[in-house]
């Protein structure tokens, strides 16, 4: 039997990826350029008894998915720039209370209302530093329609596996481009179930680290009763200000991601074996980068591309290794130098990091990248 194929937009693919992953609860607030996710799920979710809610604002949408997730639902919200800013306090709530959820954010120009229909990659720092306080961050940056579908599934899996919010952040170009997509068969792609308690209700503690850094999470209404708060908490979920517990819990929350970087971080290496120049790119910009690298190769320049698929946690190890091998790093991005800062941090001054930064709502074209590749001496 041949697989089901379709010609979809990135946002539509995201909605279908969520359904494949078992999403049964969505809450959102309309905002360009992410609204198609809402539109598809408002039609699809009720067909299988799932719930679609259009809330009064993005904060409410974030709150609703966190509440729903605590009952065991697999939850998604979608938004864009201004909405992402509004959600930030509650993304932090999801981190500290350790509630699985997926936040899909289409990157448009900013700050503020910025350029609602223009592409951008300027939310990548917001994905990590947007909410206050130390916290884990996972952010995936797909570059095609198929990858948006696949990465939304992976986002659900990671959020369940590590019991933490996960973001998927395509730029507006990826979110709105139409491409052929091949749907996996049911069961073909693994879907990670939530780790639920094996102990009886009287013994259950929602943050019991004797089960490891990711304690099982019971569902409200499943026979377990427990307390959830956004305050620093103890194993039993109740607030504490005890210094040693707060320190240990904060470190554990971050360690859930930091100790599992190799499991989470994904990337693509393109023509890197003998490369003198590496273009580091992500999202739609990587499509121009690939083209530019191909042209450079035709012209005898040993260029290659490292494509970031997981922006957070950042692929430090890989970039550090590259910095020890190449003569220069080129970073095209639709912001005024965000990934560039991370690359400079990883390159530790060993090689120059040359940026191409565009925030005018136009994509970065291969010519610009090629010219920069040629600047590396």
């Amino acid at each position: 039997m041949s697989k089901k194929v379709a010609f979809l937009q990135g946002n539509e693919a995201a909605a279908h990826g969520a359904l494949y992953a078992g999403c049964n609860f969505f809450a959102g607030y309309p905002i360009t350029p992410s609204t198609e996710v809402s539109e598809v799920l408002s039609a699809e979710l009720p067909k299988t008894g799932g719930k679609f809610l259009q809330m009064e604002d993005e904060i409410a949408a974030m709150a609703a998915i966190l509440g729903a997730s605590l009952t065991g639902a697999k939850v998604l919200t979608s938004t864009s720039g201004p909405g992402l800013s509004l959600k930030q306090e509650l993304i932090g709530y999801g981190c500290i209370a350790e509630i699985p959820c997926v936040v899909y954010n289409v990157m448009r120009g900013g700050p503020s209302t910025g350029m609602p229909t223009g592409p951008s990659q300027s939310d990548v720092m917001c994905a990590k530093w947007g909410t206050h306080g130390d916290h884990p961050a996972i952010c995936l940056v797909p570059a095609s329609v198929q990858e948006t579908y696949d990465e939304v599934i992976r986002a659900f899996n990671l959020s369940e596996k590590y019991r933490t919010p996960v973001m998927v952040m395509p730029d507006e170009i990826v979110a709105h481009m139409r491409e052929r997509i091949v749907f996996p068969e049911p069961g073909e792609v693994a879907v990670t179930p939530r780790k639920t308690p094996t102990v009886p209700p009287e013994q259950y503690k929602p943050y019991d680290t004797s089960f490891g850094d990711v304690p099982p999470l019971a569902a409200f209404g499943s026979g377990y009763k427990f307390h959830v708060t956004g305050l620093n908490k103890m194993a039993d979920g109740f607030p504490t200000t005890k210094a040693d517990i707060v320190q240990a819990e904060e470190e554990r929350q971050v360690r859930k991601v930091d100790a599992n970087i190799d499991d989470i971080v994904t990337f693509e290496e393109y023509l890197l074996d003998d490369a003198d120049v590496v273009v580091v790119a992500y999202g739609s910009t990587s499509r121009s980068a690939r083209y530019a690298v191909n042209v450079a190769r035709e012209q005898g320049i040993k260029a290659g591309m490292f494509r970031i698929k997981t922006f957070w946690p950042f692929p430090d190890k890989q970039i550090k290794a590259l910095a020890g091998k190449v003569k220069g790093i080129v970073i095209p991005e639709m912001n005024l130098g965000m990934c560039s800062l991370e690359l400079e941090r990883c390159a530790q001054g060993k090689v120059p990091v040359l940026g191409i930064f565009r925030v005018d709502g136009e994509p970065i074209n291969p010519d610009q990248i090629l010219a920069k590749i040629k600047e590396v001496k």
Binding site: N24, F25, A27, A43, P46, K47, G49, K51, L53, M55, E56, D57, I59, A60, A61, M62, A63, A64, I65, L66, G67, A68, S69, L70, T71, G72, A73, V75, E89, L90, Y93, P201, A219, F220, G221, S222, G223, Y224, K225, F226, H227, V228, T229, G230, L231, F238, P239
Partner: protein, 272 residues
């Protein structure tokens, strides 16, 4: 016989954090009696709050409890209830939490008419942060941020709830303790979004600044201003000056959201 509150309290959590004479404890007791009257199942009941002194209530109750972010209880609760309609969902919080930062969620929760109950403890002040004025602080009164008297007019929470579409709205006071559980029982039994405003006291940050010499004076004020709706019918406008109506203020049968959403599911399945 003495009422057995211990059955509903989490062991080892008393004394609670509230100040001497704070009415939040009286409201919590009323809620517990209501839960007992209705024989709610602990594992199938969620108590959801925002942030504030009043919002600390869920931590004491032995059921599924969710202490969310400032103002967001209604939105979290909406998620809980929509995802697990078989649960009883009870929201609790203060006047600031519910009508300032959470005002938008509050009115939309009223409008949707999801079968949940919201108990709002109105002590006319932001107690937890030390007594700044809230949207319910009466005009002219003193708060830490209105040292010359409050220029703002205050909200009437019950009217706000009725205007926004809540289908059951009641008001009680912390003084009229034996009425609290009865109002909450009726509210929980009502199908739809029900709001119970309890006029409360904050001796520490509000009483002190507004020349109430003691908790007792604050309680006496609640006793004096409260007029049961029935009694009010026989009173003149003049007699009702400065009074506040208590009891069930509004009740209406309107389509409940989860039932309406069930129809959406039916239509979607038919369209498949």
């Amino acid at each position: 016989m003495a009422f057995d509150y211990d059955k509903w309290l989490r062991p080892g959590k008393l004394p609670h954090i509230w100040c001497p004479g704070c009415g939040h404890g009286i409201v919590m007791k009323g809620l517990i009696r209501a839960m007992e009257t209705l024989q709610l199942k602990k594992e199938e009941t969620a108590v959801v709050s925002g942030i504030g002194c009043a919002s600390r209530l869920p931590g004491y109750i032995d059921c599924c409890t969710l202490h969310t972010a400032h103002g967001r209880a209604a939105a979290f609760a909406t998620g809980v209830k929509m995802a697990k309609p078989e649960m009883n969902v009870i929201l609790v919080g203060g006047d600031g939490d519910g009508t300032a930062i959470g005002g938008n969620h509050f009115i939309h929760a009223c409008r949707r008419n999801i079968d949940m109950t919201y108990i709002i403890m109105n002590n006319y002040i932001y107690g937890m942060t030390g007594g700044q004025f809230s949207p319910c602080t009466p005009t002219g009164h003193k708060a830490s941020t209105t040292p010359y008297g409050n220029p703002d007019p205050g909200f009437d929470i019950a009217k706000l709830a009725i205007g926004a579409g809540a289908t059951f709205v009641a008001r009680g006071t912390a003084f009229h303790a034996n009425q609290i559980d009865k109002l909450i029982v009726e509210a929980i039994q009502h199908k739809g979004f029900s709001v119970v405003e309890i006029l409360d006291d904050c001796p520490t940050t509000y009483g002190r600044r507004n020349k109430y010499k003691s908790v007792i004076e604050m309680m006496n004020r609640l006793k004096e201003v409260a007029v049961p709706v029935k009694a009010a019918e026989k009173m003149t406008a003049e007699q009702l000056q400065g009074k506040v109506l208590t009891g069930v203020l509004y009740k209406e049968v309107k389509p409940e959201y989860i039932e309406e959403y069930a129809k959406v599911i039916e239509r979607a399945k038919a369209a498949k």
